[in-house]
Symmetry: C2
Subunit: 370 residues, 2 copies
DNA sequence: ATGAAAGCGCTAACAG
DNA sequence: CTGTTAGCGCTTTCAT
């Protein structure tokens, strides 16, 4: 930390200002002088101080991520680590860092955002787990910080969104089950305060509608194992109990599958089960779980990139739509039990490979990252 | 950000310096003046700028955590989210934040530490996943930043450690299996480059020695599901195959249990299995996994606290030992198969509740957090 | 005990 | 185009 901009200026025989311009590639310095300055900087091993830069330019060179989940839930969700790793790949190219906060408890979330903003810790936020009528959107407008939302909020939002089509994954799961002859396909939903909880439910409803089946087997839960288990118990108590359950995430599916088995049901013999997220452990369940593979790492990278572009005013403001997730068919789904014979064409007992979820024509991908 | 220290100084009729002293509770200002200054600051709603503070005092007010795991492994590990949540609880009381980096790929880790240090992003580091002869320890000494290690490194380290006794958990698992009559108790180890991979292996060896059993059924793996599965396959191929396997983490145990079942073995009828970490999903496996419950959240809180104390020179330099983890007995462990009858006293077929791991007398807890 | 003033290292407005 | 200079908001030394 010894060598400063003044040292370089001296060495190059110019003023501090010239060095600053030279370094940042701004006009105001001739090519020759610039070369000389950069040379001097290199020789002295000058590393500009981020702190001083931050003070004078009022920037933090950091992005914020506030996670408002219960730690126990967090721990089971494969989403965040991969998402963060993705963010990192984008940030590391730009000398930005990630400031992570875990806010637990009521009010803690808002306080967290406020504190990071007021202390000038970050230049923008990545908003995950977007909720219905999310209060963070007006909050961030008030705080005057840019942001990127994961999926488009259902309230007015000035922030660009980076979305991954939930609908496609759930639709693929339902279509898969319908093809296997199931007619009573239930859904255990995630928290309906989350837009991804809602959209997955709606996707389930409309996929059933398309198949000409009623969407009357819904049970709300909260993305937790305990909630998934309770919801499953409720569904299996019904006289018209389902032969297949589409869960809004893997954790609930895991708990639901477990519960069904403890009740003496065979999976998939008596009950087919699908999850969502493709958590690593799901392939080692008995039976391995059919689930929807999202790409959280890609999501993180793109979201961070979009936010960085905003900060440098090089973002067009458009939403970004990522490639739709993919259904991974494993052994937790099978033909509907006898007596529920397929109303459609005969189907093979098992799919053996990944099938691509259909792209939804009504969500025009303005941009598609590979 | 409108109101600055000068405004407050004007309002209180003093100089900037006085305001600074008053705010930081330093001597150099009389009680009366201090009161007046604080009053003025409150009225104006003054928030001191962290950036300016950072520049003039050469501090970052942030702690760094560099995670060098493969994102896919990260996603399945319940440790980090809870650990981070724990860190947060300690930091939020002190206006510190967490800068998180995920470094993947060779060399990325060191670059990450260097960059954070050179850019003055953090005032200290939390070192997790400590390795044998860990190169980060000399690195951080070179970078002249304080740190806290999770568990005491096996090389000389000037940094205080916050430890949780691995030995106790594994010992409890082995003792539990021995009590169930098992005599061929294998261990699938985690990466032996990690000190917790090593210590768990050593704990397994010495627990077997104590029981008068040979420790010849060891298979090295790498904490991943795939590795755990391969190691399990290897063990089960042996002619003297084990009747119980102690895994170094839950993910390997899950994969191992799955593999055994695919081979037609009953768990725990033919093979008992124990995990480590108490990942949430383990209670929904079939059968639910007997595992060791660590407390990552507590660990994070204490580690951050110790590091903060170091920064304020109020740390005594002693290591901190947390309460030993606890064995959670669930259905993946049971009596040894017939023909392997218990050499000891008859045992109940199942423990039904948590049993406290014995405290190890040879690791004197210098401090024990509740 | 108090106040003035000199940095911290950089950016950007402003003369030359 | 180039170089000078005044901040950014705080800490801390040094006279008073």
């Amino acid at each position: 930390m010894a060598v400063t901009i003044s040292d370089v200026a001296h060495a190059a025989g110019v003023s501090k200002g010239a060095v600053s311009y030279a370094l940042n590639g701004q006009p105001g310095v001739s090519a020759g002088t610039r070369e000389r300055i950069l040379q001097a900087a290199k020789e002295l091993g000058w590393k500009p101080s981020l702190r001083a830069k931050g003070l004078s330019s009022a920037k933090a060179f950091a992005l914020g991520l506030v996670v408002a989940r219960d730690p126990s839930l967090l721990g089971t969700d494969p989403f965040f680590p991969a998402f963060i790793a993705g963010i990192e790949t984008a940030l590391s190219e730009h000398d930005y860092t990630l400031v992570l906060s875990v806010a637990t408890g009521a009010g803690a979330e808002e306080r967290c955002y406020r504190k990071l903003a007021e202390n000038g810790r970050v230049d923008g936020f990545l908003l995950t787990d977007v909720r219905h009528d999310d209060s963070r959107i007006p909050l961030l407008q008030e705080l005057k910080l840019p942001a990127v939302t994961l999926n488009r909020p259902d309230s007015d939002s000035p922030f660009p969104a980076v979305s991954m089509d939930d609908c496609a994954g759930i639709t693929a799961a339902v279509e898969h089950l319908v093809a296997l002859g199931h007619t009573r396909i239930a859904h255990v939903g995630g928290g309906q305060e989350y837009i991804h909880g809602r959209s997955r439910r709606q996707a389930w409803e409309s996929a059933l509608a398309t198949a000409g089946l009623p969407a009357d087997l819904f049970e709300a839960a909260d993305f937790t194992a305990a909630g998934g288990m309770a919801a499953t118990a409720e569904l299996l108590r019904r006289t018209d109990k389902p032969t297949a359950i589409v869960y809004a995430n893997d954790l609930m599916a895991t708990a639901g599958q477990y519960y069904a088995q403890t009740q003496g049901l065979s999976v998939p013999g008596d009950l087919s089960v699908t999850g969502y997220d493709n958590a690593d452990f799901t392939q080692y369940l008995n039976p391995p779980l059919t689930t929807v593979a999202t790409e959280p790492m890609l999501w993180g990278r793109v979201a961070a990139q979009v936010l960085l572009n905003q900060l440098s005013n090089s973002h067009d403001g458009e939403d970004t739509v990522l490639q739709a997730p993919t259904l991974l068919v494993r052994a937790s789904t099978g033909p509907a039990p006898a007596g529920e014979a397929a109303p459609n064409a005969p189907v093979p007992p098992h799919y053996t490979c990944t099938q691509q979820a259909p792209q939804h024509p009504d969500t025009p991908p303005t941009l598609c990252f590979p």
